[in-house]
Chain length 220, copies 2
């Protein structure tokens, strides 16, 4: 797959089939992930792949509690607004994200694979998120959908404890990435145009290019 | 370019030519970057591209001070060890990274382009580093080398102030990415094998695959 196709179409893909992911694909995903950069190339990362139904059964209820907490705290105003005015363009997009997240919560145990990423001594996240994003891009190349969530952070150390992460080694859980073969279609992620969020030389300086229309399109 | 070639060969490329980067390539890089995920798709990011020699002249001395601080504080033990035992495999690798970072410090003003990434309300880094890494991967596809540094953090708000970032808007500078056409060659980044840092279902559980040899190779 072309790099631009992967970069443009690896959007959050939460609705997936329960079909298992072959070990060869998992190996390719993880082998690509560890090529990512880390501060001083220290590679202070660790990954846990979860495909055991018994472990998923422990994580599922926690995930649903975390999503409940997300809606009732961090995104409460947003949820209220979507309920009050469901038809504005922004609220439509939010409503769609919420539906898809609720799908993930209801169907958590049906995901064939979860990737958890951990980092040591990485305050910024700059030494773990490139690797996690590489894993998601490699998964895309294998036809596997994924999404990135840090919502388990609501539960403190409960998930690391379930996964047996040694408490004395100071691993920080950066993210959970549920994976699976998509039920939906791949498409280019809609975003605020790049030139509107890019400044040149000084804050407010014009980017110098126009990206009103995406510069890559999937013509197939 | 194939996605795997980009994922495997986008390694820190600090020695680059001063040749300018065409605006079309910059547009492609940034348009790809904003397709990356962010928490709740809030896209709370902003980017500053620096190509003005006057701005670079302000940043260069700060960068050199930051690198001095890096060597004398965070990596002091490592620097001492490399000087004491330069010939162990690990210290050779570190010596090589240090040389390349020192090259970057001496030649800071000769980089044709810097990308700075900023995020709002992103404690984990999970909503900015995927975009920054996407920019680096897209740059790779355009034949442009890059590296990722957060060393300017040593200088607190000095760099955001130089770039005119509004202090009241709570933007956190996540990273600086110097870019340019490489003086050296692209190659697959050597890493601790993925199966050694991947656990299955429980910490310590065998990954279930073997990645002793990289699963992708540049045969050209």
């Amino acid at each position: 797959m072309d790099i631009y196709e992967a970069l443009y179409t690896t959007r959050a893909m939460r609705r997936v089939k329960p079909d298992p992911i072959p070990m060869e694909a998992q190996a390719k995903i993880m082998d690509a992930a560890v090529r990512a950069p880390s501060g001083g190339n220290t590679q202070n990362w660790a990954f846990v792949l979860v495909d055991d139904p018994a472990v998923k059964a422990q994580l599922g209820p926690l995930y649903r509690e975390c999503i409940e907490m997300l809606w009732s705290t961090f995104y409460k105003d947003r949820v209220d607004e979507v309920e009050a005015n469901p038809d504005t363009p922004e609220n439509k997009q939010w409503g769609s994200i919420m539906k898809s997240v609720d799908w993930a919560a209801r169907n958590f145990e049906s995901y064939p694979l979860f990737l958890f990423g951990f980092a040591q001594g990485d305050g910024s996240g700059g030494s773990i998120f490139p690797a996690i994003w590489s894993a998601m891009l490699a998964a895309r190349a294998e036809g596997i959908g994924s999404s990135l969530t840090s919502v388990f952070a609501f539960k403190g150390d409960e998930v690391p404890n379930i996964l047996g992460v040694p408490a004395e080694e100071d691993w920080r859980m950066a993210a959970c990435v549920p994976m699976g073969y998509p039920l939906g279609k791949w498409g280019v992620a809609k975003r605020q145009p790049a030139h509107e969020v890019t400044h040149r030389n000084q804050w407010g300086g014009a980017a110098g290019f126009d990206t009103s229309a995406p510069l890559w399109a999937n013509d197939r």
